[in-house]
Amino acid sequence: MKHEHYKHLLLRVVDGVATAEEREEFTAHIRSCEECHREYGEFKNLEEFMSAVKLKDLSEDARSAYWHSLYNRLERGIGWIFLSLGAILLLGFGGFMLIREFITDPTVSVILKIGVCVLLAGFVVLLVSVLKERLFVRKYDKYSKEVKL
């Protein structure tokens, strides 16, 4: 439809919210505009069809299952936080001890020590880079103004 004004008017007429003057204006327009007349008929048909489409309501069982699942997930969330914190602490401590042992071990060659240190440095740089990217993307995410959490 070429006529922007009549496009909005068409919807208002189809949806039954147009005023008497708007209806009159639109009726006069479609008498002389075949395109709008055809479009009006097609929209009316769509409305007839869509008014017959409904979404089933959630059953009582589904509602009950929903709440139980949600409650369990909330409880599990606290468990995950503790588990993650504990794992980070243990892995961090274990990793530190392992590296210290390795560095101070006189039987390990210097080349190997340097190699492992460079490998670890690379890992740390990559980790920091990924974290920075994540924070950057979050900051400039086009939906970030809407997500304030």
């Binding site: 496009k7 909005h8 068409l10 919807l11 919210v17 097609e42 929209f43 048909n45 769509l46 007839e48 069809f49 869509m50 008014s51 017959a52 489409v53 409904k54 979404l55 089933k56 309501d57 959630l58 509602r63 929903y66 709440w67 699942s69 949600l70 997930r73 909330l74 969330g77 939906y143 809407e146 997500v147 304030k148 959490l149």
Partner: protein
């Protein structure tokens, strides 16, 4: 003591104070609405179930940051909307809209052969899902609110925090797409 008549602001305050019953009231009050909203955007019942629950969990954990002098639902709906959009953006492969919960009643009067109502059958659900898949998530949400929740233009504008003209424009193009799709399928 909380019940279904407890206002949102009070239920939220009680939840923050540790009253789990108050949160259960909030969940009971908004489950259907928030689930449907997720369903319109995602077009898949399981994803809608998961993400609407994620929205409740996120809202629960951030209730302290919610200003109780403002209405609760728009804040909550924004959380859900963003979870859904982020989910859709992260998902690499486009998933087909597949809502099994559509109920399609027989038309009360016979239609012309070119009418989208002609030959309503099981296939109609497939065509409707296919037509909705081709819309943007924003357009699908507007279509859902308009047809299935039967909200007015003004109510949709308020819920989505966009001008009424934008609602009408998006509705026009979304409905035009649906009607064109139905006409193509009917041929």
């Amino acid at each position: 003591m909380v019940d279904m008549n407890t206002p949102d602001a009070k239920a939220v305050s009680l939840t923050i104070a540790g009253d789990k019953e108050a949160f259960a009231v909030i969940v009971a009050r908004y489950t259907e609405r928030i689930y449907r909203m997720a369903l319109y955007i995602l077009g898949n019942e399981q994803d809608a179930m998961d993400l609407s629950q994620d929205a409740f969990i996120r809202a629960y954990r951030n209730l302290k940051r919610f200003d109780v002098s403002r209405p609760f639902f728009p804040w909550f709906a924004t959380i859900l909307r963003n979870l859904c959009y982020n989910f859709l953006r992260r998902r690499k492969r486009k998933q087909t809209y597949n809502i099994e919960d559509f109920q399609i009643a027989e038309p009360s009067s016979p239609s012309s052969p070119s009418s989208p109502c002609a030959g309503i059958a099981v296939e109609t659900k497939i065509v409707l899902n296919r037509a909705l898949s081709e819309l943007s998530p924003q357009a699908r949400e507007i279509i859902g609110k308009f047809y299935f929740e039967q909200l007015s233009y003004a109510e949709i504008a308020t819920e989505l925090d966009i001008p009424i003209g934008t609602v009408m424009s998006r509705l026009y193009y979304a409905r035009k797409h649906l009607k064109d799709r139905f006409i193509r399928e009917a041929r």
